[in-house]
Assembly symmetry: C2
Homo-oligomer: 360 residues x 2
């Protein structure tokens, strides 16, 4: 079988050109006689790869000089603990916005380390929307405000950046980092697991403002201290070297393809194709509030859930996989990250139209 269209929510599709380069360099990176996996992280070859990856990410996101960029391990789940351990800084509580499963997990973990105020929630409507800021009950003494700009399960994305009046804003951007232009200076800390828009699972990127790090709660392991990682340029211990290399290839691919301005335009176009198809149909239904529809994850249900299996079977026959929705929403979910080509979305829309004709 040829390459298929993979709509997985993560780990997810990677750019084919990136995989081809990784394949070609697997046994011998740029004539050095070694695989990147075999390189000492202290050697000049890998130090160069890591430095270039950081420089390219800084350029792509226009990251200001007073922000550190860290390449860590552990995924967003580790950040759920590291954020309070490092950012409470003697304050009593932090504010959290609850817009879905990932927000809930962040909240649950943060409660181990301090008081959490849930300042807004969309749980009343099965996490199908993002509460507008006039509904948020922010505490001006909070250590930070945490939110999830894109929820992969509900397919809910913020199309605005919250205003927190000087309280550091913390964002779990695991599922929409690099998919749109954002102003990093509006954030205190951004974190993202790599396995959606960056590279392979096992790498986590943290972008944090200098002045927020250095004060941890008692009993914080060294590996969970941002300051230690920052002072050691993410080499306090052996970093996930191959993941950093792959992320670097993805950053290069983004740069060669027009950067985030072009990527955002592509993502708008891809999402429009799919939402237009959903809106034109009485057979399919998208549960998400229109103003919060995610460009990355598009959940939808069929008129009759009994048809789900037939839809998935037909999808697979056409080389479209990983479309089954999360059990909390049901139906289907199409994740269309940066690396999903527009032809993949077109193939999905064609399937949806054909299936509606034959089963509607």
């Amino acid at each position: 079988m040829e390459r298929i269209y993979n709509f997985s929510a993560g780990p997810a599709v990677l750019p084919q050109e990136v995989l081809e380069q990784a394949r070609d360099e697997m046994l011998n990176w740029q004539g050095c006689g070694m695989s990147v996996m075999e390189m000492s992280h202290r050697g000049k070859e890998f130090m160069g790869i890591a430095a270039q990856a950081e420089a390219d990410l800084r350029e792509l996101m226009a990251i200001p000089a007073n922000y550190k960029v860290l390449f860590l391990q552990g995924g967003a789940s580790t950040q759920f603990a590291m954020v309070p351990m490092n950012l409470l800084r003697g304050k009593k509580s932090a504010d959290y916005v609850n817009t879905g499963e990932w927000s809930k997990k962040a909240i649950k973990e943060a409660k181990k380390f301090g008081a959490v105020n849930v300042v807004a929630s969309s749980e009343d409507a099965n996490f199908s929307y993002a509460p507008t800021q006039d509904k948020w009950k922010l505490d001006s003494d909070a250590a930070y405000v945490h939110y999830t700009p894109n929820e992969t399960i509900g397919g809910v994305e913020f199309n605005w950046i919250p205003e927190t009046s000087g309280v550091p804003l913390v964002a779990d951007m695991s599922s929409n980092i690099l998919s749109r232009v954002i102003d990093v200076s509006k954030f205190g800390l951004i974190y993202a697991g790599a396995q959606k828009n960056i590279g392979p699972a096992g790498l986590t990127i943290v972008i944090v403002r200098d002045d927020l790090i250095g004060e941890t709660i008692a009993g914080t392991p060294s590996m969970m201290d941002y300051k230690i990682h920052a002072e050691n340029e993410s080499m306090y211990n052996t970093p996930p070297t191959y993941g950093i290399y792959m992320a670097g290839l993805v950053f290069r691919w983004l740069k060669h393809n027009g950067g985030l301005v072009k990527m955002e335009a592509n993502n708008v176009a891809k999402a429009k194709l799919l939402y237009d198809c959903l809106d034109a149909s009485n057979f399919y239904h998208c549960p998400t509030a229109k103003e919060n529809r995610s460009r990355m994850n598009v959940p939808f249900t069929l008129k009759d859930a009994a048809l789900d299996e037939a839809f998935l079977k037909e999808a697979k026959a056409r080389g479209l996989v990983q479309l089954k929705g999360h059990r909390s929403v049901g139906g289907m979910r199409a994740s269309i990250y940066n690396a999903m080509p527009i032809d993949g979305v077109k193939a999905l829309v064609a399937l949806m139209n054909d299936f509606e004709k034959s089963h509607g």
Copy 2:
């Protein structure tokens, strides 16, 4: 340039056959149309890869059924904290043996979570030997006894397993796991960063006896709780999927090449070539006590440190790299893990003999 011989202490050389298979499968794993990096960790393809990797590791090491095998992130440095957080279990202190830089780091981190008794140390002789057990002052009330069976910097390896009279024995086997046959049932917990004898950096394997997990100290992050990882079969969050795949390929390679019995015989033969060369010479010197010479990491100095640069230059010209020793020992260090072919060691010995002739 062709592939070279890479004597790096870690990340380190991988079997060429494994890299070739990874290359060939990069864009399309076994006809499924996806790279392993792109697979959902909950999909049947990756679940199969992970289950096979665990089964093969269990077979290779004859791991008893009452031990969990965990595939985690963070390296040995994260284990330095997780071990006390999980294994103190209400006890006041733990016993640590100090035989080098890695022991020291484990001790320093453990002190954040409880009292540490250093029950034996070789710091008096620049960590050039392993203290015999009659020198250990073990505490029968200790929560556990921690030691480092192989120290990569000093090149010191234990050729015996400590007897701890029922106190759980914990071993950082990062640099010698899978290099020899061991009796897992003598250990309470074994951990190993992958980047020496297992696979790429960013994966850590933990083998832990069932009855030791489930009681953590207050404030332990979920991601640092062995019980949570065990109950979720290492999928509490997205695991380092590609690292697990590569580890699985290495386990297969080990099985196809005679398992640990054959690997140990190879390692004995490789180490003998190098130590025989050192012993036959007055030009080279190995600082390690003979009875504790590591089969994995062989440090040696030249008669005149002023010749080090010339030696490294000549080595590089012959395609032998990463031979520079750690600054605390000086001279050279040859790491000859499982994946280093005997021809690489022969090439190094030939260089050493030639260099002695021309500079001795």
